[in-house]
């Protein structure tokens, strides 16, 4: 942490807008803490609705991260290590959900995987499988929104990793699959972990695509953010505040944890 002493002469033209910027980002969270019903907090946290939503959120975000790892790491590898034609277009396409309003993702998922959707109609007619209103739909919505975070993180790690180890492994007779498994992947493990954690946090906070595509029912599809939205619409602002604090606590813990990781890696 020892750095050169920072220059303290900050021009007001920078300091004032910076203070405003920090206030815009930090005040809402401080406001939640100030309004928190601390006395009722344990009973709200222990209520059936909150525990049900919390359990569903933890399970779906974890499963979504697993799916994103299995599918997203190979996508990142394709983008970083191959001369695939149309690679930049592909990169653009798979990272669109980063900037897309999640509701749009939800509508798109409904049009494709809904019971009368392009793929959904076939799934329903052939296997009798119908995705909307199921926990699987929650996972699909979370993967759609969160996997790009993992892909971007892993692709970055793959680009900065030293490729000569891969070349050496190849000259020693390792197949491309063995090289990927035994050499490439261990070298970028910190990047994969950081990507997975970001992906998990984003999946945990997913709202728009979930409510549009998967609906909202306790225990099946109503995750923590949906529970918070239902609570504020119902006038249960205390419950909404407690749920919000819970999600902020998780996010802050993850970001602080990642920051230490990154600093540790750069030293």
């Amino acid at each position: 942490m020892s750095r050169r002493t920072a220059d303290l002469r900050v021009p007001a033209a920078l300091l004032i807008p910076a203070a405003l910027g920090v206030a815009i980002l930090v005040l809402p969270m401080a406001g939640l803490v100030a309004r928190a019903p601390w006395g009722d907090l344990p009973s709200i946290l222990a209520s059936d609705e909150v525990l049900t939503a919390l359990r569903l959120s933890l399970v779906t975000a974890t499963v979504s991260t697993g799916v994103a790892l299995v599918c997203g790491v190979p996508v990142a590898w394709l983008l970083a290590r191959t001369a695939l034609p149309g690679r930049s277009v592909l990169r653009g396409l798979v990272t669109v959900p980063l900037v897309l309003p999640p509701v749009v993702g939800g509508v798109a998922l409904l049009m494709v995987f809904g019971r009368r959707g392009l793929v959904g109609a076939w799934l329903y007619d052939t296997f009798g499988v119908s995705l909307p209103f199921t926990t699987e739909a929650v996972v699909l919505a979370q993967v759609f929104v969160a996997m790009p975070f993992l892909i971007v993180a892993v692709e970055g790690a793959l680009r900065t990793a030293d490729r000569r180890y891969d070349d050496v492994a190849a000259t020693l007779g390792a197949t491309p699959w063995t090289t990927f498994r035994r050499v490439t992947l261990p070298a970028v493990a910190p990047g994969v972990l950081a990507g997975a954690v970001l992906c998990w946090a984003r999946a945990l906070g997913e709202f728009g695509a979930t409510v549009t595509f998967a609906g909202s029912f306790p225990g099946t599809t109503r995750t923590l953010p949906l529970e918070a939205y239902v609570a504020i619409n119902a006038g249960d602002s205390d419950v909404a505040i407690v749920l919000s604090l819970l999600m902020i606590a998780v996010s802050v813990t993850i970001l602080v944890g990642l920051r230490d990781r990154w600093i540790g890696a750069s030293q």
């Binding site: 509701v103 409904l110 728009g208 029912f217 619409n233």
Partner: protein, 261 residues
């Protein structure tokens, strides 16, 4: 979907309120034969989702009649709209889909005067066109295999649904609880829900995509409207409420399938 619609409308309303601030509405000379005070400026109306089509038609008529008047709507679940008003949303008029949500607003001291009932609406059992699952009545809503959409219990359509189901002695097995009635109506129209409890007017607004199954002992909601105590444009608000409760409103609402108060 409804959240995005709502946020957009509220943001637009707030911007317009800022842009039109200070407009006392007296700049335009009233046309000959018109009442002494012509409604003008922006009127922000928070209205139950089920009023979407009717109120938009009504706004078109009013804005044609009064060129200086602009009506901005935010449609959503009545319970959510009341929460927004209680939290200080800058709005002029509140119209809810039942009396209990309006009572919350009155109890919160944000309503000016007594709310007026301007329409009634009947809850209906709606199915996708052609009734693919052969739904015959409320008892089918208990079927676990049927995909059922019902409004959240605190939203007026959800409260009405509960009363209807209680009266019929049915314990429904819903697959999703929607934030407002329009969301449930969309799910039926898209064929994603096999059945939903929505208002007759919402089923009608979906046209050929939705069919209604007759149910006995219909549940009817009363719709109240009121000017808000902190209305930025009280004159405009009163003119809009007069139109809603008067002849123009009656006609438009009746065409949409609402019952007279």
């Amino acid at each position: 979907m409804s959240r995005a619609r709502l946020t957009l409308a509220v943001t637009a309303a707030a911007l317009l309120a800022v842009a039109c601030g200070g407009d006392d509405g007296g700049s335009a000379a009233p046309p000959a034969g018109a009442p002494a005070t012509t409604p003008a400026g922006t009127v922000t109306v928070l209205a139950a989702a089920s009023l979407t089509e009717s109120f938009e038609t009504l706004a078109g008529q009013l804005e044609d009649e009064y060129p200086d008047l602009e009506i901005v709507y935010s449609f959503g679940p009545s319970s959510g709209l009341v929460e927004q008003v209680l939290a200080g949303a800058p709005a002029d008029v509140l119209a809810t889909a039942d009396t209990s949500t309006m009572d919350d607003a009155v109890a919160g001291g944000v309503v000016d005067g007594e709310p007026v009932i301007f329409a009634r609406n009947t809850l209906a059992l709606a199915v996708p066109a052609g009734n693919p699952d052969n739904v015959t009545g409320l008892a089918d809503l208990a079927n676990e295999d049927l995909r059922v959409a019902i409004c959240e219990p605190q939203v007026p359509c959800g409260g009405a649904a509960q009363r209807l189901l209680d009266a019929a002695g049915v314990t429904a097995a819903p697959d999703t609880l929607t934030t407002d009635v329009k969301e449930a109506a969309s799910l039926v129209a898209l064929g994603e829900a096999d059945a939903a409890l929505i208002y007759v007017t919402d089923a009608a607004a979906e046209g050929d995509a939705v069919e209604i199954i007759e149910v006995a002992d219909a549940v009817v909601n009363e719709y109240p409207v009121a000017v808000l105590a902190d209305a930025p444009n009280p004159e405009g608000a009163r003119a809009v409420v007069d139109a809603i409760t008067g002849e123009p409103g009656r006609t438009v609402l009746a065409e949409a399938g609402f019952l007279e108060p």
